[in-house]
Amino acid sequence: MTRVGGVAAVKRAIAIVTLACALFASGVRAEAPPEKTRILVWHAYRAAEETALLMLIDQFNAAHPEYRAEALALPYDVYPSKLSAAIPTGHGPDVFIFAQERVSAWARDGLLSPMDADAAMMPGEFPEAALDALRSKGALWGLPLSLKSVALYVNKSLVPVAPVNTDEMVALAQKLTDPAQGRFGLAWEAGDFYHHASWLSGFGGKLFKEPEHRPVVDTPEGVAALTFVRDLMRKKHVMPEEPSAQLVATLFNANRAAMVINGPWFAGEIHGVDYEVVSLPIVSATGLPARPLLTVEAALVSATSEVKDGARALARFLVSKDASILRAKIGRQVVATRSAYDDPGVGGDTLLRAFRKQAESAVPMDNTPAMLTVWEPYKRALTAVLSGLLEPDEALAQAQRRLNAIAKPMPPPASPWPLLLLAAGGILALSIWIRRRPVRPDAPALYHDVRRAIAYCTPAAASILVLVFIPFAIGVGLAFFHHGEGRYTFVGLSNFVDILTSRDYRITEPMSFWFTLAVTLAWTVANVVLHVSIGLFLALLLRDPLLKFKGVYRVLLIVPWAVPNYITALVWKGMFHRQFGAISALLATLGLEPVSWFTRFSTSFAANVVTNTWLGFPFMMVVSLGALQSIPQDLYEAAEVDGASKWAQFRHITLPLLRPALLPAVILGSVWTFNMFNIIYLVSGGEPGGATDILVSEAYRWAFQRNEQFGFAAAYSTLIFLFLLGWSALTRRVAREPSPEAA
């Protein structure tokens, strides 16, 4: 009966799969011969910008009956990886819209079609900086759609005449600052290099050393720029400390920041302030204008597009005068096309015009992968200096060392054969071992219904294979490769060797693996100890029979757990703000000095631990509460008659009986904490100087903030995995020790 049933089930499953395949195939075929040629457009626009784009695509389709352009919106963060995967196989878009930051890499990898001829058809329309931004190896790879840079927003009621140079700006700022009232003359995200770059150029600095095109940050100009900003914040106090985007907006809207440096997107966040946008002032010390970084959003054409003519026509159409006017008016874009500003609706728009003007003098952001490595080290230097931790020259020297380590040369390629042979040998040995293990005598009885067992297990096994094992194997495999310039090279164990020998750093320095491992362990131990003790303590309180409103307390105490942890992290991050945070306010009412939480390792680490403890104790409380309730009351009575004090009862009855429930929770909690990326990334962000980063956040940085060193990041992840594997093997042994069972 079961046999027949099993076979029937398999047949049915085959029939369903066949049917599904047939349907799928027919669907594909039905789509096949379109009477119009399709042009696929990828973009990451939302809201008004997307509306404008869709309107333009409709216009294009109406004007070109032979084409049918279609837009597909993609989430910004997955966009680059999807492009790199799709275009080489011919499945990608024909036209896509993206900023210039990856143009060099894409051009190098052959994803883009050159557009020089198309730009030449519209002479004088685009600022040279915008075209520069899209050039690589002498060719132009896209048509500029819109320009983004920061400029100076001034509150007109406070600043009737915008400053022309920094001397004026500083004098004005000093006049308008009143720290006691929380009023500042100036505000911008000073901890972010994107904003800071304007000053670097104003002091005559450059980010790259030519001709090798290597990022060099510890220059006298860099020190001068950083000193200038540091003095504004820490000597003249005309700027708020730890200025986040949100704080800047809040201050400006409350008329408490007279001048703000920000991009065109900031206009949407302003409410009820009469403002004006002007170009950044001239740096009085050098006489040079502060030139912001210019980001150019461009229409790019895929190298593998089969409708290149149509795609280029569409790209040209998008940057044409009329289309630009529409993008400016509806999408509120600072369009690149010069003639669009002849339209009174666009040219008369002071905001667009001001940003267009600023763009003319802006420095195009470098479009090579080297640029991507600059952000994190520079940001660390900025925060270190702005929090008073380091002098500008020290901080930039440190940043330079970081950059050198990140941009380290590729290790020599290795032959994969020894490792492959080793792996094959390992697998062989494993399978022999499995084969030769004694078979249980009752095995035939256990496994008599093999077919059915396989049928039941297959879906789960298949999904685990696809969702866990394959990504895992790829991840581990990646650890043996070096990624650079879009290519993976097999380098054998050199990633592991570099990490474990701490090649580029002394082991007492934050970027060394061992330092980070020590921090991770301290982090894990501190958290688990606090989670368990606070959770257990609260559970014991909640168990008190005399306590009223238990249900209410229980729910309230579980709330921290129910809130998504990144929200909690951001809330705590705000509370730790030195000038505006709730904790500083609390300290102030106690007559204590506010603490600059993220400038010292101890306080920064403590801030992380406090936040994560807030998140972590409810779980331990719930586990303890459940376990406590399963301890029979008469054991306590017997112990009491036996002469045990409350403490002895806790030690000899409660703790041992909690152990079986608490131990797995502790193991689980330690693994969670070990890999608690969100808190570290969002609360301390690794400050100061990466010292509070843990292994996962380091792995993340290697992959996404340090020149896409995916192999190095994978090696980090593999080491994390091995460490946790060892840990769970160890704890499993502890957990196996004779454990009490309830009578």
């Binding site: 008469d634 054991l635 009575e637 009491e640 008659v641 002469g643 002895a648 009578a743």
Partner: protein
């Protein structure tokens, strides 16, 4: 060794009075057995003595000291719980040693006492096991052992032998008696078992509905129960009760008549309940009580016949195998006048007469 006194003790759970005014004096070194139907408050009384419950009214004295507010560990009592309450995460040895370890007893003495208790309770082979790996009876013995090793001045036993098999129960009874003789501690012992109650007790206290019915030497209670409840509660099978009226030299009712000792002549004409123990009532062809056999219990050398009479079922004893008896046959039963007790029909109190 300590005496224990309860003075007017009341205890209620919510609106539910459980112990209702108990006065009881237990002398030092006495073996006091408490009996009563299930739910009458015996366990509650022990818990009041142990300090696990606080009494609402009255006083609990141990060794002459008022202990109402003293914590359990200040009372130096040992308790064997009805539910055993063994520590599940400790071995038998650790369970036994727990109280001594808390008192920081020297190792040698601790081991000696644990081994002694284990030997007495036949637990030597089980010392390294955990409670989960023991049978109900073994657990009960560990629970007893846990109280014994401490040598408290007062032992509180809550039905400690209820899960043992008959043979072990007999043996344990002997051990408890020896233990009592040796330690001379005061023992307060709750049981449902008649034989245990009669054999172990120096004095016996019978409870019903939270009230003390009678206290005294077991045989006194058996022979001279203070009321119908005590009379019916002690002895097995239970005493026969026949409702009737005292006549001339006899008590008679619907379909029965039993001779009375001359002591009762003064009661002539009074409405009473006559009580006769089945052991004293002999099945015979004639006899003052007549009825039809309803059921027969043959025990070998003797047996009991259940007669359906007009005043209810009456149990009578017969000698030998009772081969001649058949269900449905009409039989009678008779007894000596001295073994008939009389209870007031209304109050159910024993009617006391001058001997």
């Amino acid at each position: 060794m300590a005496d224990v006194t309860l003075r007017g003790v009341h205890k209620a759970f919510g609106d539910n009075p459980i112990v209702r005014g108990v006065d009881l004096e237990i002398g030092s070194g006495e073996f006091m057995v408490l009996v009563g139907p299930s739910g009458c408050g015996k366990t509650t009384l022990l818990r009041l003595l142990a300090g696990l419950e606080q009494c609402d009214q009255g006083e609990v004295l141990i060794d002459g000291k008022v202990m109402n507010d003293a914590a359990p560990r200040e009372r130096n009592v040992g308790m064997v719980f009805q539910s055993y309450a063994l520590y599940p995460h400790m071995t038998v040895r650790e369970n036994l040693a727990f109280a001594l370890e808390l008192r920081k007893t020297p190792k040698a003495e601790l081991d000696a006492r644990v081994n002694e208790a284990a030997q007495m309770l036949e637990l030597e082979k089980l010392l390294e096991r955990r409670p989960k790996q023991l049978s109900g009876g073994q657990r009960q013995r560990v629970a007893i052992g846990r109280a014994i090793v401490r040598r408290p001045s007062v032992f509180l036993f809550d039905e400690p032998l209820s899960n043992l098999d008959a043979a072990l129960r007999v043996q344990m009874r002997g051990e408890l008696m020896r233990l009592h003789a040796r330690l001379q501690s005061t023992m307060i012992y709750v049981t449902h078992d008649q034989v245990e109650a009669m054999t172990l007790a120096t004095r016996l206290a019978v409870f019903n509905l939270g009230k003390l019915q009678q206290v005294g030497k077991p045989l006194d209670l058996y022979a001279r129960p203070a009321n119908k409840f005590v009379a019916g509660f002690l002895g097995s099978p239970g005493m026969n009760f026949l409702r009737g009226r005292v006549g001339k030299g006899a008590v008679a009712g619907d379909g029965f008549s039993l001779a009375l000792s001359p002591r009762y002549t003064a009661l002539e004409g009074r409405e009473v309940i006559a009580g006769v123990r089945p052991q004293a009532l002999t099945l015979s062809a004639q006899g003052g009580v007549r009825g039809e056999i309803e059921a027969i219990e043959r025990l070998g050398t003797e047996g009991y016949a259940y007669l359906r009479t007009k005043v209810g079922t009456v149990v009578a004893r017969f000698e030998g195998g009772g081969a001649e008896l058949k269900v449905g046959d009409a039989w009678g039963a008779a007894c000596e006048a001295a073994s008939v007790l009389l209870f007031d029909a209304a109050s159910e109190e024993a009617i006391a007469v001058q001997p």
